[in-house]
């Protein structure tokens, strides 16, 4: 395999992931969020741009592209500008190891790394650096508070999520995402959501916290912190933060589908990719349902919930799973 070909493939992959995430996750995700929130609150939601308001986010994006980039006078320009790159980049990197489906020539994935799950945990942990940089670089007390809350929250919820990832990897006997999906097929193996319901619930809670959504949205609590770490961002920079946030949410949902809901597996009357997309949007719907149903936690409640409930339960679950894998299966 020549190096030039590899570089070309990487560049093409980057373009595909970026445009895919921008269109499917960010633009359609925002529209979906507005439509579902409207439906839950007995409103209509966006209705005027395009058929049934379908083109609303496209119009919003064009508007944001045209807006001026405002940099606060006493902001740290280098940090302020580079934070915008870190957040979406960390979200986009997640998609390298997600298997979207399978074809005759093999699974549909950018790279089936043999450390897939570890890679996912590593790249999603980079988002918080961008958030801290944005919060500090803005030179705004609300932004800084949002950034600090985010660091505390994401570091705390990374631990139960990591333990859950280890639990699933232990069950599948591999860190590769493709092997994990294949481990859920066959007559003797169920989807891991049935074998590991506790791990699934912990993963969903930790994922909600990692992407800073209600009830864990203290990072950008409107009533307290204006918009949190991206209060000072405008125009396309604001849009890039939204892209990073929705990209991360879709990546978390895709990982939940891969680890627990059998990935692309499904009955044969639909193609595997379509099964993956259906499950992905089902998980996304749960995220949005939670967001428009529950009120926000207080910061101390949120942190002690993770340290005193999620981490002990997930570790206990890991021990029980390890016992099962070593003693019962053999």
């Amino acid at each position: 395999m020549s190096w030039g070909w590899e570089v070309l493939r990487a560049a093409a992959g980057t373009v595909i992931i970026f445009s895919g995430v921008a269109l499917v996750a960010a633009m359609f995700g925002v529209l979906l969020e507005r439509k579902i929130s409207a439906w839950m609150q007995s409103r209509l939601g966006p209705k005027h741009v395009g058929p049934q308001g379908l083109l609303q986010t496209l119009a919003d994006t064009i508007k944001l592209l045209q807006k001026e980039n405002i940099v606060p006078t006493r902001a740290d320009r280098t940090i302020f500008a580079s934070a915008v790159i870190v957040v979406p980049l960390a979200a986009l990197l997640d998609y390298v190891v997600i298997p979207f489906g399978t074809t005759r020539s093999g699974p549909l994935i950018f790279r089936d790394l043999n450390i897939g799950v570890l890679y996912f945990a590593a790249t999603s942990s980079l988002v918080v650096i961008g958030i801290l940089m944005a919060g500090w670089g803005s030179n705004n007390k609300y932004a800084l508070l949002g950034g600090l809350r985010s660091a505390a929250q994401m570091v705390t919820y990374e631990i139960p999520m990591g333990v859950v990832l280890v639990t699933v990897a232990l069950l599948a006997g591999s860190l590769s995402t493709v092997t994990i999906v294949n481990g859920q097929s066959g007559p003797h193996h169920l989807w891991y959501v049935l074998e590991q319901p506790v791990a699934f619930v912990i993963f969903l809670i930790a994922a909600t916290a990692e992407v800073n959504r209600v009830p864990f949205d203290l990072v950008e609590a409107e009533s307290e912190l204006v918009a949190g770490y991206f209060s000072e961002y405008s125009g396309m920079r604001f849009a890039l933060f939204q892209l990073g946030e929705y990209g991360e949410m879709f990546a978390m949902a895709a990982m939940a589908v891969t680890l627990f809901l059998g990935g692309w597996l499904g009955l044969p009357f639909l193609p595997p990719v379509l099964w993956f997309v259906i499950k992905l949007y089902a998980v996304i719907f749960v995220f949005m349902w939670v967001r428009w149903t529950y009120p926000r936690f207080r910061i101390d409640q949120m942190l002690s919930f993770s340290w005193k409930v999620l981490i002990p339960v997930s570790v206990l679950n890991l021990v029980v799973t390890a016992f099962f894998v070593i003693v019962v299966r053999r």
Binding site: G4, I79, L118, I129, G135, A151
Partner: protein, 166 residues
């Protein structure tokens, strides 16, 4: 020059360039943020050496956790400005001596290592998670447990210092 060499020099340049920023920057937040590209450059070198698991751990622990803790600590102190730190103190001579000794040691190790490519048919040591786990809980269990005690002690020490007032 092979593609591998090009990638190596690129990664080395990123690592060394960010390292220079870390040492020379007067703004402590800039220095902490420059840790990220430096650590990611080292990650790239690990990947180049086929040590994928170590590379993943490097990103997860160093870039994703340690840097965040450093940034967190800086922002909670000094009023969040990150400015005003001195870059030198009275220990310059001692520091330079330690750095020189360390550099001499590293250069000696690099020079004395046999860098000849392995003979044909030889296999690389396995770096899979399973092999690493076996090594931690088998041959190197004493080191592993020793490290965990060090971490536990530092954790308890941090709690003791933070809770001293109560």
């Amino acid at each position: 020059m092979s593609g591998e060499a090009v990638v190596f020099y690129l990664l080395a340049a990123v690592t060394l360039g960010s390292g220079a920023v870390i040492v020379t920057s007067g703004n402590i937040v800039h220095a902490a943020a420059a840790l990220v590209p430096a650590l990611l450059g080292v990650t790239g070198l690990y990947i180049l050496l086929n040590a994928e698991f170590v590379a993943g751990i490097q990103v997860l622990i160093y870039a994703g956790a340690i840097t965040v803790l450093i940034l967190f600590a800086i922002m909670l102190t000094e009023g969040g400005t990150g400015l005003g730190g001195r870059q030198r103190n009275e220990q310059t001579a001692v520091g330079a001596a330690v750095a020189a000794a360390m550099a001499a040691l590293l250069i000696a190790v690099a020079v004395r290592t046999n860098w000849a490519p392995p003979a044909a048919g030889a296999t690389l040591p396995s770096y899979t998670p399973g092999a690493i786990g076996q090594s931690f809980l088998g041959r190197n269990i004493l080191v592993f447990e020793g490290t965990s005690i060090v971490l536990l002690v530092s954790l308890m020490g941090a709690i003791m210092i933070a809770r001293r007032e109560d």
